[in-house]
Amino acid sequence: MLWLAFKTLFHEKGRLIITLIGITISTVLALIEVAIYLGMMGNATAVIRHTDADIWIGSKNIQSFDFALPFPEHRINQVRAFSDVQWADKIILTFAFVKLADGRREQVQVIAYNPDTGVGAPWAMLEGRAEDVKGGHYMILDKTSEQRLGRLELGSQWELTFVKEHSFKLVGLSQGIKSFTTIPVMFMSYNQFQPLLADMALANHTAYIVAKLKDPAQAQAVAQALRVALRDNDVFTRDEFVYQTVMYWTVQTGMGMAFFLTAILAVLIGGAIVGQAIFAFTMEHLREYGTLKALGARNSDLYLVIFSQTVISAVIGYALGVAIIFLVRDGIEQAGVDLYVSPILLVVLFFTLLLVCLAAAYVSVRKVRMLDPVTVFKA
């Protein structure tokens, strides 16, 4: 019966094309929305995910990675005192302004890390090395920040405003490291940047203490013990901190949610289009289904026809949609929007779309099941 499904589906090219356009458009919409959402969440949690630490300790009631408040750095000793802790390090995260060539100021997100250990360092370097920030007012900017900051030339001096003005020299370029807020990320040495905090009466403060455990499987237990020891801090395992950050941007700000809901909507609309197309198709061929029944086809044969037509349409439409995404992807990313398209996303989205399509086709199946073969004798 698969044979019949193919023949009828491809015989009516007009209807097939309309169905395919529907599925393709909703695939593209859903995929773009989800990929943008995942891209944003990927950026929001990039530093956490790329830092080789099992535990993140931030200020009390911290909402997300981007909003860390300074706390005294000596608490690292309490962390190091834990026998489960292999090493602990500090990372500063704060915001400052840089002066552009034309005199305007742009906000930047400062990440100050230990260049000796590389904990919190940029993980994808285009030019220079992460350890180059050591020993002076040196910094690394991301290549993608050129859109905001203008040309980034190694060796150029940049004026940084953090309470007072300080001059930093650009010694490296990272590649594709962005913040959720799209504010340019500026990496520098912890030891060089920390004294600047003194101007805010926050001498010897840090934004994060991160720790690597001897046994990462113990992360939950160690985090719990650290919570007891560090009452003025919030302690997370790496996964918890990723989750906290994602939830903050998705639920609390609603920004991610908008993308998420649009994606779901696109999938549902796609399903509705396919369902409606398959239903109209079934209605137009009701007489043929009746004839099939009279000729001795079982209901299951007819379901096979309808469902396989649905699956064929879904597969072709989805493949076209994915192809379009890969064609336009570069253009979209050049415009500064990150698309995160992973094989898992493609698989999950396909099955979601397929499920919605099949659910919609089920309406047709019910219609055909109720169909009385006596209708075949109607003139």
Binding site: L4, T291, L295, R298, F377, A379
Partner: protein, 224 residues
Amino acid sequence: MTAVLEVKEVSKVYGAGAGKVVAVDAVTLGLSKGEVLLIMGPSGSGKTTLLSIMGCILRPTSGEVRVAGKMVTTLGEEELPDIRKNHIGFVFQAFNLFPSLTAAENVELVLRLKGYDRKKIKAQALELLDKVGLVKRAGLYPADLSGGEKQRTSFARALAGDPPIILADEPTANLDSRTGREVLTLLRTLAEAAGKAIAIVSHDPKAEELAHRVVFLEDGRLKT
């Protein structure tokens, strides 16, 4: 002669109360191998309803239907498709060909449905179309066939898989009178050649000449 298809005291009642219609009223009828039976009667007399019951498409309200000696009225819903598939070929007034299939593919469809060897069905379909004189038109879609060609294609389809019984409801109603005669002659020739049991519903006078036996229906009742 043994009847390959028998209906005994079958009735079909539609609706209830004041709107109740007795479409078929206690009809007893047998159809034998090699026989062409013509069922005549005015419009609304229950011909199509009777034929549907004979074809195991419609369940009678009461009475018995036997196909090849097997009682089908007591069979479950899931067993009836197989009875139709294995015993009965249908010919419809409106041909009911599949527009997205060529004439040959329309015949193939039934062979596929009946589980014939995929490699042989193409040749078999052509052979059947040859019997109805359509082998040259095998590759055309129904939209490109004349009415007579469509009906001949549907004969070939009804013969596919060699069912012992052929049931035809007003096979000439959509054809001009000359084509109608040709088609009926063909039907009779096929029946005799292959020893089919054929029941035709028609009020075409030409059908009377070709039938071995004629029965009349009036208000659902058989008049002999």
